[in-house]
Assembly symmetry: C2
Homo-oligomer: 366 residues x 2
Amino acid sequence: MSLNLAVIGGDGTGPEVVAQALRVLDQVAKDGGFEVQTTPLPYGGERYLETGTVLTDDEVEGLKAYDAILLGAVGHADVPPGVLEKGILLKLRFELDQYINLRPVKLYPGIETPLAGKGPDEIDMVVVRENTEDLYCGNGGVARRGTAQEISTQEMIATRFGVERCLRYAFELARSRKAQGFPGRLTLVHKTNVLTFCGGTWFRAFEAIGEADYADIEREYHHVDACCMYLATKPEIYDTVVVPNMFGDIITDLGAAIAGGMGIAASGNLNPDPSNPNPSMFEPVHGSSPDIAGQNKANPLACIDSLAMLLRETGRTQGKPALEAAGERVGAAVLAVTPKFTGKKLDRSGYGTSEIGDMVLEALGA
Amino acid sequence: MSLNLAVIGGDGTGPEVVAQALRVLDQVAKDGGFEVQTTPLPYGGERYLETGTVLTDDEVEGLKAYDAILLGAVGHADVPPGVLEKGILLKLRFELDQYINLRPVKLYPGIETPLAGKGPDEIDMVVVRENTEDLYCGNGGVARRGTAQEISTQEMIATRFGVERCLRYAFELARSRKAQGFPGRLTLVHKTNVLTFCGGTWFRAFEAIGEADYADIEREYHHVDACCMYLATKPEIYDTVVVPNMFGDIITDLGAAIAGGMGIAASGNLNPDPSNPNPSMFEPVHGSSPDIAGQNKANPLACIDSLAMLLRETGRTQGKPALEAAGERVGAAVLAVTPKFTGKKLDRSGYGTSEIGDMVLEALGA
Ligand SMILES: CC(C)[C@H](C(=O)O)[C@@H](O)C(=O)O
Ligand SMILES: CC(C)[C@H](C(=O)O)[C@@H](O)C(=O)O
């Protein structure tokens, strides 16, 4: 059994946090008796500034050979906004058809939340963000640029195909969480009272699929504005949440904030279809934090937890139980480490990047 | 001096909270020596269900004769989503060209915030939401509806004209707040790294106008996802915020949540251009709460504070100092009342709707 992993450290603190995740990976591979082959790839802002290349179609093709991709962070202060985000991150999500962006919002024991009176019992949901449609398609343009008559547009797109596969994934997830003791509730978040066209496509599919195939799952609908309010006031109402791409971006950042901040938020860009050969890509939700890059200050827990997700998901999709088991172990080690952050800020804990890596290794019994 | 006011109570708790605001208005008009003429208008869900009429073009024309509009809430459980919202609220915002949606996010003394360790000093900003463009234009459609090939779109639109007038309003507001002791910082919120077309129009206008005409105002830019995170973790970084329509909807609901909830959030749909004869419209941010309608449970403070804004803004725009002074008095009375909510939930305080109206009247010395 083996794992053939593409590693994109990316910009800023990306390579540092990835380095810690790879230490952890080495250990669990050794313990679990599986081979790991890692290929570091130089895609990111530095290469773009040196060579002018963002990410070529051939490079995207090349990534298809891997079992999975681990990404640190993309974003460079000297590169105009959108170039790397659209050219690397979104290009990979779209071209590898990673149609699920899976983002748990879970407050770990010991981690401080900004919400008064809320604890791990109240903040424990998972957000399924559609990852290949919506305002993220990039359709639109600018006319009469630079004049008083300038007009620009961006198009939000929803297809039954794209919406349905995302909804089905979310319903299945809600069902599997129900089996673990969660309420079995799926909340759709949209803005159907204004975005009547795209909102209609989502809402009708949600009702039809839910009624036909998931009668055991409670369906709820929230407008995105109300959802943000509830995340700040009563996050305990959420179990599994399904949401289009743009609103998903927003509510998962807010979700990360209430779950203690970016230092711990993991995510997976999944292609969960077993018939699809493209790899999934896993990344911390946080950005490249150029201000603290190279200072051994970044918290690698989000990246290490993303590795846990990578191992679990890749193991499950590819039928490799040793990977799945290793993923569970890494997840448990992260959970074991978080109480050490009690009374500290997650991002300014005083612990160094490699020191936190050490803690996770220690929790693994290494 | 007089005020000719159109009153749309609307649905659910709307008429109840408006009734309290009108009691307050009567009082300050009597005290301030100005005439008030109020015309109740039956627009809303009930009328739609009875007659099939949402809001006719003639009725919109008719509204242009008033000095201002006070709106309770629009939204009815038996009416499909979008019908009343687009047919009344958005139709009025757009056709009366109320291009500024002004939403203070201010934690009043005594009001509970969900954020640990934050108080009135940390939560005191004002959001300027563009109100006549963006995803709210309604452009888009659905093709192959009800089939597996269904596709729907919604268009986000930004024009230099619409963006510039909104930005100039926001820069002026930041400047006038600076004169009152605020930092003099204007934060633009968008998603320029993905929405490069509309985001570009906003960002370039922001930089150009700020550099040319508002060098005294500090400019900051935040992505909308980061903004939601900061609103939950460090709201004190915000002074004046300017934001397109859809993202403005989202961040102001979150803003209302951190400022103690919908019970207190006021808003104005402004047409601040003195050369424009159309009235502005003022409304609480909260919805129609059909579950508690008719039970004397709704908190009228948001509506009364919207009345304060109505009086201030109408007085200023129309050069009627008596109205402005009355608006200041109503605002001060709301501020005087909020400490009575110490230790209580704003929305389930145990105080009745009319009782809270009494408190405000009492604070006015009536
Ligand atoms: C960097 C950016 C393009 C990206 C997104 O908007 O999806 C990020 O915010 C995220 O949430 O992964
Ligand atoms: C009711 C709805 C159309 C409206 C909006 O989205 O603008 C509301 O949420 C608001 O914020 O005033």
